[in-house]
Every structure is written in structure tokens, then in C-alpha cells.
């Protein structure tokens, strides 16, 4: 199982394109939503997949950055023609991205990675920390049957409940909550400083949700690594299936540099480094050796 040729996913529908920024608007503190036109990627991309984005501004920063699909943008005929990406400014590239105005161009390649598995479930429970909510809007929309991604609809009964447990440092960083609410998602918030929702950790919210009502629940999780590790422990104890979307730094996003590795269990008591960009970024939580 350690043969890299058997990667779960290669960039088998990826294209590289120069794209034009349509808008780039603030959503919360240090957090923006950038929208760009790219029909070829938009019609193929699935929730949980990502794109690599590179500024056309010389060689520093040199490498592109991985950013998850927030949602597709539809034209008047309901055809996907663009992408929305929501990003937090943390460093060199995102800092410059925040200064791009409409009409600027960027180099983008995707769709990349595997995306979420979408088993039928009664309760889709999405657990996000920091900027980890970004892959969940499209996933919720897909589960609720409100949009088709990658050209084919999910043919399953929508979950009875879709919940987002979302934690951030402070209320000012919570981004896109209205987007989830507009879909009919139950939103449960937590902040470290208590400025919004529960004061404490998002894992407190998760425990509450799972308390005695774990059956039929499917958890998906994205956020800082310690939080994902905690969530995978909680779900393991509760015997609830859980997928995590790893945020390993990536240099290429397409499987050729071997820099984005995570320790993935081989099922025989050992582990192997696997490339999160082609084997992931989404993994069954129990497969990750934290």
C-alpha cells in the first residue's frame, strides 16, 4: 500500500490557467474572499478539493499556495464559471493576495486533491477551527442537494441535520457564518476570548453535539493540527466516523515534490509518509499518525 503510484488521486482533471480576479472583499478581520473567473476548474472541482494559486509578481514569493474551494460561482444559466476562495492573511503570499484588485491576474492550477468522501448520514457535523471552515460551505451545499459539483449530483437523501461547530480566537475572525446560516446549517460558535458564542474550545461544542446522540453522525474536520488531533480522539472514543482535511504546507500541490507528507497508518501497525496533495488532503481520521 506504500507504492506512490497508487496515489488515491492524481491531478487527473487539473488544468493550469491564468485567471482574472473579479472581486476581492473583506469578510472578517484579516480574512477575505477572492472571486475569479475560471470555468474549466469551476465545472470540475469538488468540495474538499483545492487549487494552487500563484501571484504574477516575480519570484518572491516563488511558490504557489494551496487554498481550498469555498464555493463555485454560477452564471445566469446556473453553470459554474468561477471560484470563491476565502483566505486568512498569515504571511507573504496571503498578505499580497489581500492587495489584489479586480482585473488583476493570477496563475491557478486545479482542481487538486481527493475531496471529501460523501457517505449517507443522518447528521453531517462539520468541525472547523481558525480558517478551517472554508472547505465546508460547498460540502454542506452538496449534501443538502442545493448545488451540483463536478457535473454530477450526490444521489442520496440529505441528512436530517447539518451542523457547523466553528471556533476562532475571537469573534472578529469568524468569517462566512451568514453563508452557512443561509443554507440552513445549524451553526454553533466558540471563541477563545468569549466575544462570540461559547467561551472555550470548539471541541467543547463537538462533545456537546455527540453527547448521547452520536449514532448516524458523520464528522468532518479542518483546522490547526492539535485541534484536528483532539477531534479525531473524541470521535474515536464516540465511535463516530471522522474525516480530517490536513493543511500541510505544499510546494507544488500536484505530487511531484514530496514535501507535503504526513504520517499515514498502513493498517498493520506501521506508518508511511504520504503526500497529502495527492493522497489527501482529506483522510479518514483514524489513518493519521498525529
Amino acid at each position: 500500500m506504500t507504492n506512490p503510484l497508487h496515489a488515491a488521486y492524481y491531478a487527473d482533471s487539473a488544468v493550469q490557467q491564468r485567471v482574472c480576479v473579479v472581486e476581492n472583499v473583506p469578510l472578517a478581520r484579516d480574512t477575505f474572499r477572492i472571486r475569479f473567473h475560471c470555468p474549466q476548474i469551476a465545472k470540475r472541482i469538488l468540495p474538499g478539493q483545492f487549487v494552487m494559486m500563484r501571484l504574477n509578481a516575480g519570484d518572491d514569493p516563488l511558490l504557489a499556495r494551496p487554498l481550498a474551494l469555498y464555493d463555485t460561482v454560477l452564471d445566469g444559466d446556473q453553470q459554474p464559471v468561477g471560484l470563491d476562495i476565502v483566505y486568512l492573511v498569515v504571511g507573504k503570499m496571503t498578505g499580497r493576495l489581500a492587495k489584489l484588485s479586480a482585473g488583476s491576474d493570477m496563475e491557478v492550477w486545479g482542481p487538486l486533491g481527493n475531496g471529501f468522501a460523501t457517505p449517507p448520514t443522518d447528521h453531517l457535523l462539520m468541525v472547523a477551527g481558525g480558517i478551517g471552515q472554508t472547505p465546508f460551505l460547498a460540502l454542506a451545499r452538496q449534501y443538502l442537494g442545493q448545488r451540483v459539483y463536478g457535473g454530477s449530483p450526490l444521489r442520496l437523501t440529505p441528512p436530517e441535520r447539518v451542523t457547523l461547530c466553528y471556533g476562532a480566537r475571537s469573534g472578529v475572525y469568524l468569517a462566512g457564518v451568514e453563508d452557512f446560516e443561509a443554507l440552513g446549517v445549524r451553526v454553533r460558535l466558540s471563541t477563545d476570548d468569549g466575544t462570540c458564542g461559547h467561551r472555550g474550545l470548539v471541541t467543547d461544542l463537538l462533545r456537546r453535539e455527540l453527547d448521547g446522540a452520536g449514532e448516524g453522525t458523520h464528522v468532518v474536520c479542518c483546522g490547526p493540527e492539535p485541534m484536528m488531533e483532539a477531534v479525531s480522539q473524541i470521535t474515536a472514543v464516540a465511535q463516530v466516523p471522522c474525516q480530517v482535511s490536513l493543511e500541510t504546507p505544499m510546494a507544488c500541490g500536484i505530487g511531484i515534490c514530496f514535501s507535503c507528507v504526513a504520517k499515514v497508518r498502513d493498517g498493520q501497525g506501521g506508518w508511511d509518509y504520504q503526500r497529502t496533495c495527492v493522497e489527501g488532503p482529506v483522510f479518514a481520521a483514524e489513518r493519521i499518525e498525529w
Binding site: 506504500t2 507504492n3 506512490p4 503510484l5 497508487h6 496515489a7 492524481y10 491531478a11 487527473d12 482533471s13 487539473a14 488544468v15 493550469q16 500563484r54 519570484d59 518572491d60 514569493p61 516563488l62 511558490l63 504557489a64 507573504k92 496563475e107 492550477w109 500541510t248 504546507p249 510546494a251 507544488c252 500536484i254 505530487g255 511531484i256 515534490c257 514530496f258 514535501s259 507528507v261 504526513a262 508511511d272 509518509y273 495527492v278
Partner: protein, 309 residues
């Protein structure tokens, strides 16, 4: 007078016993096992494909972080993460051998004997056009010693040359005092061509935590930042030996390719640019004939080493 039908410009190059349709190759370790790229680039158009270096035994590779971006470059310490030569032959070679582009298998041994055994193992296998000896990887001790000691370099090259009928390319490290000495050793050993350069040893530090950023502390610098060093080394090798040179280091566009050819390289490998511009090789191939014609040339050999100093 009717004009002679203009021959379409030929991009063919000869590297010792190895003939390639064009001089644009991809660097080992920067193109995975090629299959990853099949939807993004037309693999058959490449002058040659170098899959990631294989070793005799599987290697798990180094602990993360394995790469760090630096201004106009990146440091890596992947640590030759690979499943070993037998897994390569079983799982990767069948795919690679079906490609229209020649496949040059990059090998790294911990000793001369290990190199020779791997060369012998690859001899005669379908789909292997040549071997490149990675005697220059900074991420595994052993590798670097073979590429920094001229006598060892010669022995490894000569041993591999004797062990197989494939063209043999020696890939050199820039992390030496006298590159000409090593290039002469590779030539004496019988190398069909010399690839230069592998990455430049470097490091990155987080002063607040007083810790190195790479899991392996030291790593290899690549990308546009090292192009001047690579050009200098190609220039020095060309001055020392007649062995054809494959220039590597920071090549990202057709101008970079032309700089290396004029300086003395017969072919080039594109490395880090594949990471930040996956279609870089295709753009270079599209633009190369026009760049040649700007120099009034209609073949690669016509411009190789034409630098006036």
C-alpha cells in the same frame, strides 16, 4: 530564384551515446514519476524524463518540514524518499516505458558497489534510455562524498559504465572547491554527459525559536536564486572538458535555457520551476525555435558554448 524550403529548425542534441529529440529535460526529484504530470503536460514532447532518484533499498525520507521557501528559491531536504529500485522497476517503469519521451533513470548508491549493482540491474530493461548517477544529493551522507572526491567520482562512473551498456550521466554537486577537477574525473571515468548542478547546500533558521526550519537542519537550495551559480559551474566545466553538459539550476523560461546553451550546456533540465509553473517545459518548447532564430541558428549545437568572453 525560388527559396529553398526552410527546414524546420531541428532541436536534436547528442549527449555522448544518447540522442534526444530536444534539449529540454526535467530534473530528477522535481517531476515525481511523471505520471503525476500526465494531465498537465504533454509528456511525449519532453527531450527526456528523469524520475525521482531511486536507491537500492526503500527510504522513508526525512521528517517534515521538508521544504522551506526562500527569496527566489527553496530549500529541500526530502531525503530521497522512495520505495527502492525493485519497486521502481515493478511499479513505475512499466508506465514510464510507454511514454514517447526517453526515460533517464536517476540512481543513488551509498557506495561505488551499490551504484554498480543498480546500473547492472537497469541494463537492458525496456524503457530505460540512460542512467544518471546522483552522486550529489546533499540530503544523504554517502551520496555527497562520492561526488566531492574526484577519485571516487571516477570510480563510480567507470564502474557503472562497465556494468551496463546504457549511456551514463554523472550529476555533480556545486558544493565543491574545484568543479573542474570533478568534471575531469567524471570524464576519465567515461561519462557520456555531465549534469550540473544539484542543489546548493543551505539552511534556514527561526531566530525566535532558535531552531532550524528544516526537519533535517540542512537542505539543498534550488530555483532562480541559484541560476548564477549554475551558470558559473557550467562555464567552468565547459572550459575543462569536452563532455557534453546538461545545465541545471533555476531554469524557468526560454531565456534561461538560452543562457545555459550559450554558456556551454548542450541540454538543460528544468527543476523547481515545475513546482511553481507546472507547464513551464511546454512554454519553453514552444518558444525555443524562435529564440534560436534570433541568433540566426537553426540547430542547438550551433549555439552551444558560443559565449564570447
Amino acid at each position: 530564384m525560388p527559396e529553398e524550403p526552410t527546414d524546420p529548425c531541428s532541436l536534436e542534441v547528442q549527449l555522448g551515446r544518447l540522442r534526444l529529440a530536444n534539449p529540454v529535460l526535467v530534473g530528477s526529484g522535481t517531476f515525481g514519476y511523471a505520471r503525476e504530470m500526465e494531465h498537465l503536460v504533454d509528456l511525449g514532447r519532453l527531450g527526456g524524463i528523469l524520475p525521482k532518484t531511486v536507491t537500492a533499498e526503500p527510504r522513508i525520507g526525512n521528517a517534515p518540514w521538508r521544504t522551506i521557501e526562500t527569496p527566489a528559491g527553496m530549500l529541500n531536504s526530502i531525503g530521497l524518499d522512495n520505495d527502492g529500485i525493485e519497486a521502481f522497476i515493478q511499479h513505475h517503469l512499466p508506465y514510464l516505458s510507454r511514454l514517447a519521451a526517453p526515460v533517464i533513470v536517476s540512481i543513488a548508491g551509498r557506495s561505488r558497489d551499490e551504484f554498480v549493482a543498480m546500473a547492472a540491474r537497469l541494463d537492458g530493461l525496456e524503457g530505460v534510455a540512460a542512467i544518471e548517477l546522483n552522486i550529489s544529493c546533499p540530503n544523504v551522507s554517502g551520496g555527497v562524498d562520492l561526488g566531492t572526491d574526484p577519485r571516487m567520482c571516477e570510480k563510480v562512473v567507470a564502474g557503472c559504465r562497465a556494468a551496463c551498456s546504457l549511456p551514463v550521466i554523472a550529476k555533480l554537486t556545486p558544493n565543491v572547491t574545484d568543479i573542474q577537477e570533478i568534471a575531469r574525473a567524471a570524464t576519465t571515468g567515461g561519462a557520456d554527459a555531465i549534469s550540473a548542478i544539484n542543489t546548493c547546500l543551505g539552511m534556514a533558521v527561526d531566530w525566535r525559536k532558535a531552531r532550524p526550519l528544516l526537519g533535517n537542519t540542512l537542505g539543498g537550495l534550488s530555483g532562480p536564486a541559484i541560476k548564477p551559480i549554475a551558470l558559473r559551474i557550467v562555464y567552468q566545466i565547459a572550459a575543462a572538458v569536452d563532455t557534453p553538459i546538461i545545465g541545471i539550476g533555476g531554469i524557468a523560461n526560454v531565456d534561461d535555457v538560452m543562457e545555459f546553451l550559450v554558456t556551454g550546456a548542450t541540454a538543460v533540465q528544468i527543476g523547481t520551476a515545475n513546482f511553481y509553473n507546472p507547464t513551464a517545459t511546454m512554454t519553453v518548447l514552444d518558444q525555443l525555435p524562435e529564440a534560436l532564430s534570433q541568433l540566426g541558428a537553426s540547430s542547438i549545437p550551433a549555439i552551444v558554448g558560443t559565449l564570447k568572453t
